[in-house]
Amino acid sequence: MQQIPILDIRDLYLQFKAFGGTLKVLDGVNLKVWPREVIGVIGESGCGKTTTMKAVMKIHSQSNTKISKGEILFKDKDILKMKTEEIQQVRRTGISMIFQDPTAALCPIFTIGAHLRDVAKYSIGKEKFKREELNALIIDVLNKVMLPDPERILQNYPLQLSGGMRQRVCIAMNLINNNKNLLIADEPDTSLDVTIKEQILNLLSNLVHEQKLSLILISHALGSVRNIADRTYVMYAGSMIEVAETGELFSNPLHPYTQGLIAAVPKLIGGKMKGIDGSIPDYFRPSMGCRFHPRCKFRKSICEKEKPPFFVVNQEKKHEVSCWLFQK
């Protein structure tokens, strides 16, 4: 049977209304996630990664957000056309999200146990759980995320735990319902220390393989996605500009922006870091054509006029670039 992607974002265009006009934030986002695949999305701040994921979960404020074009297909059904009850069902049993700041994601006046029980109540459904069964389920989930002494943690408040432990609680909240298909992790390791970062990323990777989920891991640190992502997208100024299998992307970056990013990362072997000239475009009046061309050393005249489509460079390693330099 032909496999369908779990999530397929096709040509998504999104604008915000603000003082000074409209911010054309998303400029044709294309993303595919297959079942049981781990996808990395790399991009710097302001490129639109969180905006895209919020659009998938449909949690943007309706008043000043407008999606002018595009589809978000979850298992072949368009999320943008779904009604409230349908999208609630998707959030319960289909897609869930882990946010960047675990402190802000947990309400400080409820205990961890209260959080988890709430999630169980809403995500598993209205079946009445006996108290003991619910507790057993919650403790099981806390053990899965390797939290020591789960019974004590259930009584604690979020501020009594460290950053790493809070993030594990957030991951646990997403695992309570076993029917999930897709987990979106929005920079889960950014606010954590180096040694804890690694633990959390490994935990995510192990859990995803155990539970047969797909994972979208968003980060602005290239090192975070390298170890656990199967395929990685690079995002700039509202659209994906390159995608490849992770090893291939890091050893053979093709888009000038990706090359610039990799040159800017401080390396253990020493050597000078190189910044990228220029700055991110003004979203009120973004340039025509490829949004990176004002900063690109290799720009040609066509780059200023038309936005490049994806050119397949290496079919086997799934390497595609959105850049006129690679037009056949």
Binding site: I196, K197, H220, R226, S251, I262, A264, K267, G275
Partner: protein
């Protein structure tokens, strides 16, 4: 700690800073000693709770040390500056400056860039004449490669990287000889970080500044500092010149840190020490383990490590370790 006193600009001796909180006594900095040479970029590495920021703030005078001394070597004099910045002399205030971590809160959102950069000049009477202020602000902006029309912008209108450049310009306004850099690029993206760091390196070389750079990013230090100290729970584990630390880390914590760094190429992967799985959480600073504070996470702990705190030993010239494995 260094024999050649002529070269030193600052020396920290047995510095301690304790905070009394409701949960107990927090020993943020618990007996830290090191020196910084003139013109060098000294790195201080640690995770959260290690006390590195507290060391920075004590040097700059935001906190008064509970115990210990901070000595500033100025020309032929050795000045004891172990006091709050409000009690320090003007000369010291001019010559020791800081760049904070968070670009959004280190600049007053209601003041224009011109006002922000003029403040240190006005406070120390460095403005001579009505147009001199604008001229000096222009000079500072050119030093950090910012366009001149940024003078009348407000911090909210410019990006994080540019705000940090303004913070750096503000620190340079009084012609300091020593700058504390408290994680200046932690909140910034990688490509902007590269620009800021390159600007910093240029300025340090041109103005012959001595700096202490505080961060948790070991890869960044590889390209920047000449000597490093690693901190854990308020104490220094290891001090070493940079190349040797990366090729031959001695303290188990250093090895754990190095083995967890996320890298992006196979080449770098091979340079990392053998994989040490970091186990457990960082202990709370109110409840520091007895003996060597790292023993609860150390894969090579001996019986003695839970009882006695190891002493700082000079294993080789310029390399210091605090670990029972090297006694």
């Amino acid at each position: 700690m260094l024999e050649n006193n002529n070269n030193i600009i600052m020396s920290i001796e047995k510095l301690k800073k304790y905070f009394a909180t409701r949960q107990g006594l927090v020993r943020a900095v618990d007996g830290v000693s090191f020196s910084i040479k003139k013109g060098e970029m000294f790195g201080l590495i640690g995770e959260s709770g290690s006390g590195k920021s507290t060391v920075a703030y004590t040097i700059i005078g935001m906190y008064k040390p509970t115990e210990g001394k901070i000595l500033y070597y100025r020309n032929q004099d050795i000045l004891d500056i172990s006091e709050r910045c409000t009690s320090r002399s003007n000369i010291v205030k001019k010559e020791i400056q800081i760049v904070f971590q968070d670009p959004s809160s280190s600049l007053n959102p209601k003041m224009s860039i011109k006002q922000i950069l003029e403040l240190p000049l006005k406070t120390h009477g460095l403005i001579k004449g009505s147009n001199d202020g604008v001229r000096q602000v222009e000079k500072l902006l050119t030093m950090v490669n910012l366009p001149l029309d940024y003078m009348y912008k407000y911090p909210g209108m410019i990006g994080g990287g540019e705000r940090q450049l303004v913070s750096i310009a503000r620190a340079l306004a009084t012609n300091p000889s020593f700058i504390v850099l408290d994680e200046p690029t932690s909140a910034l993206d990688v490509s902007i970080q590269a620009k800021i760091i390159n600007t910093l390196i240029q300025l340090q070389e041109k103005l012959k500044l001595s700096c202490i750079f505080i961060t948790h990013d070991l890869s960044l230090m590889r390209n920047l500092a000449s000597r490093l100290a690693i901190m854990y729970l308020g104490k220094i584990c290891e001090i070493s010149p940079i190349a040797e630390l990366y090729t031959n880390p001695l303290h188990p914590y250093t090895q754990m840190l190095l083995s967890s760094i996320p890298v992006i190429s196979e080449e770098e992967e091979k340079l990392k020490p053998k994989k040490i799985q970091s186990v457990g959480e960082i202990p709370s600073p109110v409840n520091i383990p007895s003996g060597c504070s790292f023993h609860s996470r150390c894969p090579w702990k001996k019986k003695i490590c839970t009882k006695e705190e190891p002493k700082m030993l000079e294993v080789k010239k310029g390399r210091f370790v605090k670990c029972n494995l090297y006694e």
